[in-house]
Symmetry: C2
Subunit: 247 residues, 2 copies
């Protein structure tokens, strides 16, 4: 990829952040919550609930990253986080254990952004494409079937038994593809993910997703690093990848 000449070569594989970058988690979770809340005559705002649920995401993973807890899959963390949010919002008596487990599958039913499937299909003609998500293989595999995401392989946190942005996750994902970190490009809508991927030796592509957090989004509206690629959507990303010379 970047050589002494400064030429950026086409990566052998692109690995992708998923929540927010490939799929619209906020509207997806809110839609499932709205459906269940309606059945139960609960008046809580489903988008607010989605934000609260996702708000527990980083603190829960931090316990694993810091070594205070052994690796458990994100499905388990999501279920624990759901319990915490149901308690906070005073809704915990409304949901049985089975109903919580059912609602937890909402994370497998997230809609791709409108350009994701076509963009991934185009990129797949030129390189290996795989998710490098903190979501488990179980979760991301089902999400791919739900949304028609044409991954070549399902990688991510399970492969490394640790969570991004720990360097081992990026490096181990490259390693199981038989590639050096510098032959792999990390794609994300989050600058911090790309800073960590670059520090681990990967190439980087930023795709803007200005609606991930809804109408009031203030973060990641633009690239804050000199990423090898910056694109407005996956169509633009695919076009830029196609134009890179092969190593």
């Amino acid at each position: 990829m970047t050589k002494q000449t400064g030429t950026v070569f086409r990566p052998k594989a692109l690995i992708f952040d998923v929540f927010g970058t490939v799929v619209d988690w906020r509207n997806g979770i809110a839609a499932e919550c709205a459906r269940v809340f309606a059945e139960k005559n609960i008046s809580a705002d489903p988008h607010e609930f989605a934000d609260l649920w996702r708000g527990e995401y980083q603190p829960a993973m931090q316990k694993v990253r810091s070594g205070n807890r052994g690796y458990v899959s994100l499905d388990m963390l999501h279920l624990e986080n759901l319990a915490a949010v149901l308690a906070k919002t005073g809704l915990d008596t409304h949901f049985s254990d089975d109903e919580r487990a059912d609602l937890n599958h909402a994370w497998e039913k997230l809609p791709p952004w409108p350009d994701s499937v076509a963009g991934l299909s185009a990129i797949k003609q030129h390189a290996i494409i795989a998710p490098c998500s903190n979501g488990s293989i179980a979760l991301i595999t089902r999400m791919a079937k739900f949304g028609g995401l044409p991954w070549d392989a399902i990688l991510g946190a399970d492969i490394a038994q640790n969570y991004k942005p720990e360097a081992i996750v990026y490096r181990r994902n490259a390693e199981v593809l038989g590639l050096e970190p510098g032959e792999v490009m990390m794609v994300a809508a989050h600058n911090d993910d790309l800073h960590a991927a670059r520090a681990a030796g990967l190439r980087t592509a930023f795709v803007t997703r200005p609606d991930e957090h809804g109408p009031g989004q203030t973060t990641d509206l633009e690239a804050t690093g000199d990423w090898e690629i910056v694109a407005a959507d996956f169509g633009e990303l695919a076009a830029q990848i196609a134009q890179l010379p092969q190593d």
Copy 2:
């Protein structure tokens, strides 16, 4: 799946042996060897060479399974086995290290059996499909791109850091899909693979591949266990899966 009533339910996932079951390794390896031998004016029989190379497969993995060697991917074992066979056949002076590494990629270019892609595509409508091969994620991902195999995820030995028929491989492959062993069906053209999968708690399907070892094949010509499904090819397997009731 098999319940007290004896009803066999549709598995939530089917995981597949690959070499011999999904792809024709013998003719694939022989074709690549024939190409390279012709370039080098080597008169060795390419099918015989393929059989010798594959012959080193089980002994090499046995060192890992027995604990005498830490887990290394099959790509590394294939490369070591190639060196052993080149030495045995007196061809080792003909191949540089780079040429050996190139020839080792032959394992990524194996042709699917004629019914594999259509059968997998049909089964994919009903359940998760993934390889459970001793081949690495790197190898099996590239083989899927080469042959158009529509896997939902790439599992196998790398996931368990051990080799079939160790029980942990079947169990860990089910576990990363978020499934109990009994919700998963192992598909193979080899009875010993299915005996081990059943002992690990999985359901089993046998598909006959009477040409895997060429015209003189004497093994695995028929089922030697009462597998839940026995099929002549992947089309028949898909039809039988479609007819099973959902749990």
